[in-house]
Symmetry: C2
Subunit: 298 residues, 2 copies
């Protein structure tokens, strides 16, 4: 069995989809609790223009605050361009995450560029960060299907991964932005990458649009994927649709893995507490199960 | 890949947990739609005392009505004892389902008997029905864990299965009554049974208490389990707790399997329609995803 590591993205991918702004002091409280849970990586914000995503306006401040704290998990941030890279370097980001959408339509809507252009630009940024000695992860967004285009060619996704590897980027995430992934597809795609690049470090990121997030994680576990991007409470999903499309819930995944192997270094109670506080704050039931059902104690 | 068959238990396991009584004419309308969806088996009620579960009071009438209809899926009913068997035979049940809990505590609460006694009684009923030429399925309830006892010995579950097989009962279901099952356990238990009894016909039945229903189905699919007991809309779960613990959602499972193989004989739109009508009737969001998110059309 491979060593599974948790990268919680609730503070970024979860919160950015919520209209109600979380005050910085509340974020600090939640991040402290997440740190105490002993997960491996916490994504605490993204470097996007504050006018575009007001929920992320305090990202630099959060990094400045938390980068001074010792004995903590790795703190990651999402950046979209050169400007974001500068901000991220200046405020103490420890792991630099970025991505390119495998869907031209999605890529154009997000960046104004089709996949191939966005890919060149992101690879250049990633290479610069690697040269500076930083930890970098690059993802393929919409890797399993696209809300605009539907089917995404598995070959195209593989070619993007190949371009990352050939550019010296070894830490690669496949992100199921629209939640279209299904278990056999997850198996097929990660198996192909692991087979071609056995030394690559792979991450998966699934959304629950069709209820398959957890099943897809199990397929990824079975293919040797090591990093799981999940969100406390199962937060996430687009606020402009009625469809639940949250991230895989961090504490649900940990609780489940724990049933069959020892994952004791993680304190699940702290994660549950953050999810309960988020439920109170947003005044709505979150998608996660364990924070409501309680842990099984055997 | 094995041939997967769907046994929808929403009209029984789904409705029995709802306080609001569904009028018989509404049930008839829903069952007609389920029939038109072309799934393999529909469980339309249980033979329990009407005072105990008023929602099931019209079970005999429903069977009398639907047993006259031609070109339909198999209609199954759940029976608990000899009295139920008589009622079931008299109203035209086509598949007789019954079960024994692997948890002594659960068994005593349900039947007044510990597992071993309940087991003898149910096996005797099953054998009589088989002798009369009827189609019979016997389940192990609480097969993956118990809300009262916690852990259930996998050996005990296997011994119950063995007693069924040795009594000439070949159609066996493992039911995760409390929703404690996790994927590796599902793999382990079904693999052991299939290995010992390769000619057995196996069914699984999972609840979503901890968000693992779909993942457990995929483990079962990979072990060659053929029948999946699921409920339209993901209905089910105990009305006395706040915890979501619905069944695996029929249309979600079919939608998901469809992504990787041809399951075209099933008309998923009819299932979605029943779920939407149930959502309106019960005036609450159901646990299923597809009836809200819509199908993917590629």
């Amino acid at each position: 069995m491979n060593n599974i590591k948790i990268h919680d993205v609730g503070m970024r991918d979860g919160l950015q989809n919520e209209a109600k702004i979380v005050p910085t002091e509340t974020k600090i409280k939640w991040i402290h609790k997440l740190i105490e849970s002993n997960i491996d990586i916490i994504q605490i914000g993204s470097f996007v223009h504050p006018a575009k995503v007001p929920q992320m306006a305090d990202t630099d401040d959060l990094f400045k605050y938390f980068s001074k704290i010792e004995h903590k998990p790795v703190l990651s941030g999402l950046l979209l361009n050169e400007k974001g890279m500068e901000r991220a370097i200046n405020c103490g980001v420890e792991m630099f995450c970025m991505g390119v959408s495998a869907s031209d339509t999605h890529s154009k809507k997000n960046t104004g560029m089709e996949t191939i252009e966005a890919q060149k630009r992101i690879i250049a940024i990633a290479q610069e960060l690697i040269k500076l000695g930083h930890k970098v992860q690059v993802s393929v967004q919409s890797a399993f299907g696209c809300g605009f285009e539907g089917k995404i060619s598995e070959e195209k996704v593989f070619e993007i991964v190949k371009s990352y590897i050939e550019s010296g980027i070894n830490n690669i995430s496949l992100a199921d932005t629209a939640g279209h992934a299904y278990p056999e597809q997850v198996t097929r795609m990660f198996a192909k990458i692991k087979n071609a690049y056995p030394n690559s470090v792979l991450t998966c990121h699934f959304h629950n649009t069709y209820g398959l997030g957890m099943s897809n994680c199990y397929s990824a576990i079975n293919e040797g994927v090591e990093y799981f991007e999940t969100a406390f409470g199962g937060l996430g999903g687009c606020p402009f649709t009625k469809v639940a499309a949250g991230n895989v819930c961090t504490e649900d995944l940990i609780h489940s893995i724990n049933r069959n192997r020892n994952f004791e270094q993680i304190n699940i109670d702290n994660l549950i507490e953050v999810s309960k506080q988020a439920e109170q704050f947003f005044e709505k039931k979150l998608e996660g199960y364990i924070y409501r059902a309680g842990k099984l104690n055997y």
